[in-house]
Subunit: 204 residues, 2 copies
């Protein structure tokens, strides 16, 4: 009797995460990465390395001409200039992991997430899922922003306005994670990874 | 400042589960139902109630004419005749729960799952996700079937053949859960429910 094909191998999950400041998205990504469940996507940047930062771990550090050349060669999924420095996500890093069945989390803003969503690379389309992490309502958002302090010099009103502008994009994502306790958030976030690993379209 | 719409309410998840005999699918469904996380879909049947069985809990018990009338009125998602008795899933029961944000699990065979997948009811389409639970390979399947005994009088060879015929359908499902330990299976199964609850298409 010949046996039907059982799933034997799978591609990695590319889990893209967005959310306003104070949503806890970076912590959630780090927790999964620290547990060895995913690889945290390392960004490339033209900003100089700070003491202690390591090329390939914290960032891929490139000179402006290097970054521009890679950009011209289509080596970035998405990029943006922030405070004069270029930031972006290298395709090669992400795709190598996905092909090897290694899950990648990527913590990017709504513009970056939209660029990844529009990506026409077949591997990326198969592996991609995105989630928006948001507070249960405006009052809770205000509290979280207030607790976060004002280290970036923006007023609370401006930060609230920016956060609400970002939050308006949640319906564009596959999933919306409405924050509860930290433990609940981590369980739900991890469940996205576990379930996306089982998606038939990623089995080989 | 006007606030963007936050998700405030969601539809229930309709999680349809199939898998060969011995896959543990019924146990997984019961575990989630016993934990109060989901409602187990109650089937309708024309077979007589056994002692202790309760209408509305174990089955909806109908006479053959009652069942046929409901069938003619399109009140079933799916139905089949097994050993002379009719079995089916009532739309009203499932849809009421989904509309109220209550998650429903449904343990049905590949034919029933295909009928639900082809259902053109908009609510069902929005709420529906399905998973096939399968052993890691043929050897493991043989062991599970052998351990299950032969209470239904089929030979092991026939049961293996039937199981392999069912398993060939896994690529038609959204998710494939390849069995590991019981604890792993429950965690993965529950993660499907948690993540599908977050799906943007089910938020209101």
């Amino acid at each position: 009797m010949s046996s039907p094909a059982f799933p034997t191998r799978r591609l990695g999950v590319l889990l893209v995460v967005s959310g306003p400041s104070g949503s806890g998205k970076t912590t959630l990504c780090r927790q999964l990465a620290d547990a060895g469940e995913v690889v945290y996507s390392v960004s490339a940047t033209t900003r100089p390395a700070r003491p202690g930062e390591v090329h390939g771990r914290d960032y891929f550090f490139f000179s402006e001409p290097e970054f521009e050349m890679k950009l011209a060669q289509g080596e970035f999924f998405e990029h943006a200039r922030v405070h004069g420095n270029l930031y972006g996500t290298l395709k090669s890093f992400v795709k190598q992991n996905l092909e090897n069945g290694i899950d990648v989390v990527m913590d990017i803003d709504v513009d970056g997430a939209a660029q990844i969503r529009a990506c026409d690379d077949e591997l990326v389309r198969r592996c991609h899922a995105d989630v928006f992490i948001l507070p249960p309502g405006v009052e809770s958002l205000k509290e979280r922003l207030a607790n976060r302090g004002t280290e970036d010099g923006e007023t609370l009103d401006l930060r609230l306005k920016n956060a609400l502008t970002e939050i308006a994009h949640w319906p564009e994502y596959h999933y919306a994670l409405v924050s509860g306790s930290r433990a609940e958030d981590l369980e739900r976030f991890r469940s996205l990874l576990l379930s996306e690993r089982m998606r038939v379209g990623r089995q080989i």
